[in-house]
């Protein structure tokens, strides 16, 4: 460390707490680290690890109920932890700037892009309007936005997520700050966009010599992009050091656990090939779905998609946002009639079912959604949530119902005591288990999982994936698994369809699609997955896995 010069950022013994009602909870316990000029330091951890609170404290943007309890934050040698709000304003944006998490909500919807980039120039010193406008266009061009003269007049909703993040990066680099705090800058973006944005941050950092404090939950991203890594758990640093060294020989058990739970493209045991003798459970034939747009035009969301899922196997539908994944599964679940083509389940054409038989059909096909926070009624107990599907079909006795609910809760690995709890008292993983129990209580044949593990931390994600595999073996379930995450798909699926703009660009057994993708798009998707520098991947490829 002493070989470096003066650090840009030096945090010592940082404590941050939040108030909730009358009580205060400390979420960051004595965190110390430093960032050298031009260095990328990754703050890695799962939700609740205190990584975001640490970053917010550094830029003085803790939420209203958050408080910096003690510790020092030295920026270029000066302790800013006790500075007044007014004094902090002078350094925000100029010395330390922010690339936020969610580009979709991070630009003011009623101001033009140009006005929002110009704002940071105007806030720090007098600048002629014409000079400012010229500088804004330069900045937008610099972050790789095409047609910057047009962009300055556009509003945020007219740009894609990746373009918005470029605008936010232009704002962050406008005054050439010494330190940029990137708070999960790509977690809301598609994987190919993510790669381009991360490359951009890398390029600009090298060009300007800016240091980056990179907050992420994604060990793959941290491995590929950071010089040093800090692993946080429960508000305490588990370990820190050179990224390559930490990942090659992690000292703490927690880091080892995190590393082993990251889904990887290279898997120890490929799933056995699906026997040709298995009967098909789901057949999708030439599915086409159009939506009407105002002005009499139509938008083709799904364009000629066909696949067959054998009973007891998992078919993954992979694609980025707008690829038609969700529309395809809505047709399978009978939520909308296809424009043309068929979805056959047990030889019934789902699209031709009338409301009565459609209801009976729903017993066979159940859905698990992405967001375990939004899909459970906050006012119902777990028992009521899991019991509800049973009440919608032919009546069975109270005792029988109770027995079924208890059995299914046990099957998804939850303690019986959880039945009387409300969703808010459960963790994310527990909620997703409840959602799975609710889907399984009707003893369906087919379960459609819509990004069912995407919102979960990696360690929880690994547990839920293991549970899904166990349930499939025990109950002979057929899964249709929608995901944007190719690494997860590699772990769980037997066959896969890759969708791009509604078209099926690749289709077949997972091994075949991953090892010899037929489309350029699939190759790009696979190449964009972060984590190439994760040591496990190299260990596996040389065949030395223990």
């Amino acid at each position: 460390m002493s070989t470096f010069g003066k650090p840009v950022l030096d945090v010592r013994d940082l404590h941050v707490s939040y108030s909730q009602g009358d009580s205060r909870t400390t979420v960051v316990h004595g965190v110390s680290f430093s960032v050298q000029p031009g260095e990328v330091v990754a703050l890695v951890g799962e939700s609740g690890s205190g990584k975001t609170s640490t970053a917010q404290a550094v830029i003085g943007l803790l939420p209203a109920n958050g408080r910096l309890e003690s510790g020092s934050i030295r920026l270029n040698g000066e302790d800013i932890s006790r500075w007044s709000a007014k004094r902090l304003r002078n350094i925000r944006g100029a010395v330390v700037s922010l690339i936020p998490q969610d580009p979709g909500n991070s630009l003011n919807p009623v101001l033009t892009v140009g006005a929002q980039v110009r704002e940071i120039l105007e806030l720090h010193g007098r600048i002629d309007r014409r000079d400012a406008d010229r500088r804004v266009i330069e900045l937008l061009a610099h972050v790789g936005l095409t047609d910057p003269e047009l962009r300055v007049r556009q509003y945020p909703h007219e740009l894609s997520g990746g373009m918005k993040q470029r605008v936010l990066i232009a704002i962050a680099i406008a005054l050439r700050p010494a330190l940029i705090i990137a708070d999960e800058p790509t977690s809301a973006l598609d994987v190919t966009v993510q790669r381009r944005i991360l490359d951009l941050i890398d390029d600009l950092r090298r060009e300007y010599g800016t240091a980056v404090l990179f907050v992420t939950h994604d060990l793959g991203v941290a491995a590929d992009r950071s010089d040093r890594i800090i692993v946080l758990q429960g508000g305490r640093i588990q370990e820190q050091g050179e990224t390559a060294a930490v990942l090659a020989a992690p000292e703490s058990a927690y880091t080892r656990k995190l590393l082993s739970d990251v889904p990887s493209l290279i898997i120890a045991q490929p799933r056995p090939a699906v026997e040709a003798s298995r009967a098909p459970a789901v057949v999708v034939r030439n599915l086409v779905q159009d939506f009407d747009l105002p002005g009499g035009r139509t938008y083709r969301a799904v364009d000629d998609v066909s696949f067959t899922v054998a009973r007891g196997t998992t078919h993954a539908i992979v694609g980025e946002s707008g690829s038609g994944k969700t529309t395809t599964i809505r047709a399978i679940a009978g939520f909308q009639k296809p424009t043309s083509g068929q979805t056959l389940i047990d030889d019934f054409d789902v699209g031709s079912l009338k409301s009565g038989s459609l209801r009976q059909f729903r017993r066979k096909v159940q859905l698990v959604y992405q967001n375990p926070w939004g899909s459970l009624d906050p006012r119902q107990t777990v028992r009521a949530i899991v019991e509800e599907p049973l009440l919608n079909f032919e009546p069975i006795g109270r005792a029988a119902r109770e027995a079924q609910v208890t059995a299914i809760i046990e099957r998804v690995g939850l303690p019986a005591g959880i039945l009387s709890r409300l969703p808010h008292a459960l963790s994310g993983g527990q909620r997703q288990r409840v959602a799975i129990a609710r889907a399984l209580v009707l003893e369906p044949e087919i379960v459609v999982l819509d990004e069912a593990v995407s919102a979960l931390d990696v360690t929880v994600q690994a547990q839920i994936l293991a549970l899904l595999a166990q349930l499939q073996r025990d109950l002979g379930l057929t899964y249709v698994f929608v995901s944007h995450d190719l690494a997860v798909v590699r772990q769980i699926a037997d066959t896969v369809s890759v969708l791009q703009n509604g078209r099926q660009v690749d289709h077949g057994p997972v091994e075949q699609v991953f090892n010899a993708p037929s489309s350029a798009y699939t190759r790009e998707l696979i190449a964009a997955i972060p984590g190439r520098k994760l040591p496990r991947a190299t260990a596996l490829s040389t065949g030395s896995i223990s």
Partner: protein, 312 residues
């Protein structure tokens, strides 16, 4: 865009027609007969034959549908019929009574908006927590104050005690000060409440955090980033509150003894002067519909997201 505007105007016309028809049905169904109330009065000393002639002249005994068509056609041409009680065309009565009410309503509404914005901003940037809490509790207090009581208290304090505003032969603008104040309070309260809630909500949005990270101060944030976003949903409520304004104007005019639609309505109700009532209902509905149409059409100018969606 033109399709959107045409659609909204069409809806507005439909609402107006429905208001006319409903009020016609209700007023027709009312027991009693304005002609009998007025002309059976022995002061006139009319014979039964003469009353029959008057009834024919007003087409009172013809079928309801004929009367409906007759009145509807007249309204379309701006002819609101004759006031039974005053014996003058309703349009003449409206011409004298509408302008003062409009002036009162417009000033009252303007004052309410200023008051609401002031309360909402103060509750967000006032320096001390106790002061912010105090300011935030003002709207609830305002809502619970009855309009007539507030009017009387204002007269008591400002005219009789402090002698700041004269109530006896005041000037044309002086006479408006207290009524406008009275009228603005119950309108400002819900506006301020919604504005405060919106400001609190908008302040938690990520884009406000981004602006703060640029180095923006609290006032700059409030003015440039929060205010416009917070005002958008408030605008809809402001349109709806216009109905409140008309109701408030009736009470206010009565308490302060002002000429206006309020007084006219009150007299028409007690005399069952159907033509006047029908005209007041339709005029109020027209005002209400126009304000809300204006609000709807103003949205695309204030919120760029609506511009492209409707322009498609």
């Amino acid at each position: 865009m033109t399709r959107y505007v045409a659609g909204r105007i069409g809806q507005a016309v439909l609402v107006l027609w429905a208001a006319f028809t409903l009020s016609f049905i209700i007023l027709q169904a009312m027991p009693g007969d304005a002609v009998l109330i007025k002309f059976l009065n022995p002061e006139f000393g009319l014979s039964a034959d003469q009353i029959r002639e008057i009834r024919q002249a007003y087409a009172i005994d013809s079928g309801v549908l004929v009367q409906y068509a007759h009145t509807f056609a007249n309204f379309l041409q701006g002819d609101f019929g004759y006031s039974m009680q005053a014996g003058v065309p309703v349009s003449v009565q409206l011409a004298t009574n509408l302008p003062p009410t409009l002036r009162l309503a417009a000033l009252g509404f303007g004052a309410a908006v200023v008051l609401a914005v002031f309360i909402a901003f103060l509750s967000s940037i006032a320096p001390f927590a106790w002061l912010r809490n105090l300011v935030q509790s003002l709207p609830s207090l305002f809502i619970s104050v009855p309009v007539f009581w507030l009017a009387i208290m204002l007269i008591q304090i400002f005219s009789f005690r402090l002698k700041l505003v004269s109530v006896i032969n005041p000037g044309p603008w002086e006479s408006l000060i207290l009524p406008v104040a009275t009228l603005s309070v119950p309108i400002a309260a819900p506006l301020a409440q919604i504005l405060i809630r919106n400001i609190d909500e908008i302040r938690t949005r990520p884009f406000v955090g981004v602006a703060r990270a640029k180095g923006a101060g609290e006032l700059h944030l409030l003015w440039r980033h929060v205010a416009r976003n917070a005002l958008l949903p408030t605008l809809t409520i402001a349109g709806v509150l216009f109905g409140e304004l008309l109701a408030g104007a009736v009470v206010t005019e009565t308490v302060f003894g002002l000429n206006g639609i309020g007084g006219l309505t009150e007299k028409a109700v007690s005399n069952q002067d159907l033509s006047v009532l029908q005209a007041v209902v339709v005029i109020s509905a027209a005002a209400f519909v126009t304000i809300n149409l204006a609000v709807d059409l103003a949205y695309p100018f204030l919120d760029p997201r609506l511009r492209t969606r409707n322009g498609a």
